[in-house]
Every structure is written in C-alpha cells, then in structure tokens.
Amino acid sequence: MKLEMKDTPGQLVAALKPISDVGGNIIAVIHQRDEKTDGDVLAVQIVLELQEQRLGELLSLIKGQGVNVVRIGKERLLYKQTVIMIGHIMHTDLGDTVDRIDCTGYAEVTELTMVMPAISEPSSARLVIRAVNKEDMEQALGILRGVAKEKNLLIIEPLEGIG
C-alpha cells in the first residue's frame, strides 16, 4: 500500500517508526514534488507491505505522532506470482476456482490465460495471483492447492517469486 504525507521536518521519521511496530515492511520511500500542495512543500510516499487488518492500528499510531496521512494508495496487492494449472479447468467450474481466491479479500486472481485443446483433453491455464504480502500469498496458494486436489487439477506452483 502507499501512504502519502507532507514532508515537513521530522514527519518522515515519525511516520516510519510505527510501521515496524505493527509488523509492516517498508519497500520504498519516495519524495516527490506535489503540484497540488501549496508552495514548495514536498510530499512523501511510503510504499509498504502490511497485513490489512493492522492498517487501522498503524494509521492511529502515525496520527499519534502528529503526522497527517494525505492519501492511502489503492494498490494493496503488491505481491505477485504465476501459477499454471492443468486439467479439466472449465468443467470443474473455473468461476468457482477463481472465486475461492478472490473471496479471501487478501489475494486476487488478476490475470487468466487459458489454452483449450481438443474436447476431453486436459486444458492448461496460467493464473496471475496478487496478494498483500508473502504470507498471504502462501495462504492463497494453500487454498488453491486444496481446490486443485478437490477438482483433480494439477497445479504447478512457482519456485520463487516471479515478476
């Protein structure tokens, strides 16, 4: 996720400290000249990984430090992995397979590419899954593994983070 705030002296340090306190992981700190803010004040963006349920806690901690968060970025699914699936993907309710990931709230299937060969032959699909962080990705892959077992699909998981 992305947090944006004004870069007045001391604010950055004050904002960074609570992040680790709630188990967040800072990915980048970006300074940028924001057109909309008056004068020469810089805006700061902090890109971080965080369990979604701890966001409220973080925001109140940051506020407690006297820092004003201007905006919270929409891009919360920063972690991406590719999974390949083989089997009777359509006939085992593809919609449901995707749903089981999407309904978690912390992971989503954001891309699906499917190749269908002759009827009755197994088809192959590539799923791009996005999740809030590595732990959530593990959870999502675990769910997918369960679905695959139930529907007799073969899933080929990534060995390490890809893309």
Partner: protein, 328 residues
C-alpha cells in the same frame, strides 16, 4: 587398496574400466554379477573379465555367488553396484551388512539401502569402525555428499532444492524447446537411452523423491522416509503449460525441495524463471544448497552415465583410503 565389486552393469563396468585405465592404486580382488562370481587376491585381470562377460553373459564361476564374494574375498572396500530395489533394498542391504560386519568399508551407488536403512547402516559401520559412502546415489557425478559433509562443514543447511532426475529434465527440456508432447519427448528419451523400458519411477517423481530422502537424512538425520515426501510427477504435463510458462520467460522443471523449518519435503513440477540457476538443460542434474554461512551454493553436473557414476564411486573409495590409511 583392494576392492570387490558386486554388479557388472553400466556402473560396475565403468568402475572396472577406470580402475584398469587409470593408475589409481586399486586392485580388484572380487567380482560378481547375478549369475557368477570370481575372486583372486592378487588381482583379477580386468580386460579379460570384461571380454568374458560380454561374450558369454557372466563374469566368473557359476558356483560362486555374490554372497561368497562378500564373505570370502580378500578386500578392503566393497563396491555395491547391483540394481536398486526401492521397496526392500535387497539383496544389496544384506551384502552391505555382511561386508561391514567383516570390518570392510562399503561404497555404493544403490539408492535402496541408503534410502531405507541409512541410520541402521551408519551405526553398524560406526560400531565396526568402517565407512559407508554413497556419493553416487544422488546426482551422479556431482560431489554433493562431499560438499555437504566436508566442504560445507560447520554450516547449518537451511534448505535444498534440486533437479535430481535427468530423464524428467530431458523430457521437460525437449517439450519446451521443440514443442513436443509429453509422449513424444518420453519416446525420444527412450531412444537416447535416458529412460528405462518402464519409466514409471522416473516420470512419477519417485526416483527424485528417493534421492531427496537420501539428501535429507544425510543433512538433517531425521530419518525421513519415501512416504513422507509429497510427490507429483511430470506425466500429466502439457505442451501448452510449458508454452504458457515460456511466454513469461519461465519454464517448468521437476524440483525436489526440502525445507525442514517449514515442514516442506516434496517433489513437484514448478514454474521457474529461465535464468534461475537450477534451470539446466537436457539430462543434467543441479542441486542448490542454502546455508547459514556460505549462502547459496549450486552444483551442476551429469546425473548418470557409466563413467560419471564411476567417478563418484572412485572419489568415495579414494577418500576412504586417505582417511583410513591402513597401509594396504
């Protein structure tokens, strides 16, 4: 140093040829195949016995068995290179026990006894103050056991990842490179002599899993068994799946993985970036060892073959000679 060899297949012949052709200071005093045996404490004439085996199908005297060689021949190290029986480990395990009980070292390429009875054989060997080494059981020519036991001594091994079956790697390489179907690639692997007539053990991931068990028990000594490994083979893979991976600059490989801290012990096809160090071509094997001090180490080499496997065996024999110099 005197060696006795059980088995005259690809591996046994490889050892014989190298001992004959290179000046290694090794003398073969006992030899057996499935039908016959031969012993000579002054040294067997290797060229003659190789020719005899080729001509008539057996190497020595039909009244002498492999057990006779183990129990009666005059040798320092038994080289056990008979076929792998992954379910019972026999008759190899019996041969190995007898040799150790006689106070002889053992070097084997046979996965059965090591995967099934590692702890028991090690403690028997300790009791008799001899060594049992098995470098050739995993990764063919790759000196992975030496690396783990000596080169990386003092490191904590956190995880291992490996391509441990050359047949599967060959099939996947051909499916990706030429767009062959699984069946076409398997046929090609057979024609090239990489796949057995019955490829089940290879393509179902069982062979890789057995090797993962051997590696795990060597490193972590937790006595894991083949049943503890979660196994998925490559026989259901489609050409489309490989193409879908390819479109993202990735490919698919059969990866054996052990991460004890996360309770992971599995063999399964996985998606990897094509520039990943484990992505090797053809029948090659590769093993990545993740450690606390050395970081990641990846070893790549030929996972099978007569001379290559013999190289690992000879490395073990010479290591034993160095560490147990007994003046023979």
């Amino acid at each position: 140093m005197k060696i006795a060899i059980l088995g005259m297949g690809a591996v046994g012949r490889g050892v014989l040829e190298l001992v004959d052709g290179k000046d290694l200071g090794l003398t073969v005093t006992g030899l057996a195949d499935s039908k016959s045996g031969l012993m000579d404490k002054d040294g067997i004439h290797i060229e003659e016995v190789l020719a005899a085996k080729q001509e008539r199908g057996y190497c020595g005297d039909k009244s002498i068995s492999a057990t006779d060689i183990v129990e009666q021949a005059d040798y320092d190290v038994l080289i056990e290179v008979t076929p792998t029986d992954a379910k019972t480990g026999e008759p190899a395990t019996g041969f190995i026990r007898k040799a150790i009980a006689r106070g002889n070292h053992v070097v084997t390429s046979n996965k059965g006894p090591i995967a099934l009875h590692y702890a028991a054989l090690q403690s028997l060997a300790r009791k008799h103050r001899v060594s049992i080494r098995y470098e050739a059981t995993v990764g063919g020519a790759i000196p992975v056991m030496h690396t783990l036991q000596h080169g990386l001594a003092g490191n904590r091994v956190l995880a291992i990842f490996g391509i441990l079956n050359g047949t599967c790697n060959f099939i996947l390489t051909r499916m990706a490179a030429e767009g062959l179907t699984y069946d076409q690639a398997l046929l090609e692997a057979r024609e090239m002599g990489y796949a057995e007539a019955d490829p089940t053990y290879d393509v179902k991931g069982i062979d890789a899993a057995i090797k993962l068990v051997i590696l795990s028990n060597t490193i972590w000594k937790r006595n894991v068994k083949l049943d503890d490994v979660e196994i998925t083979g490559i026989d259901m893979l489609t050409t489309d799946a490989l193409r879908l991976a390819e479109e993202q600059h990735c490919t698919i490989r059969l990866i054996a993985e052990a991460v004890p801290d996360r309770g992971v012990l599995r063999v399964a096809p996985r998606v990897l970036p094509k520039n990943h160090p484990l992505v090797v071509e053809g029948s090659l094997n590769a093993i990545t060892i993740e450690t606390d001090m050395a970081g990641e180490i990846t070893l790549i080499g030929k996972g099978a073959g007569s001379r290559e496997t013999a190289s690992a065996i000879i490395g073990d024999v010479l290591f034993i000679r160095e560490t147990h110099a007994r003046g023979h």
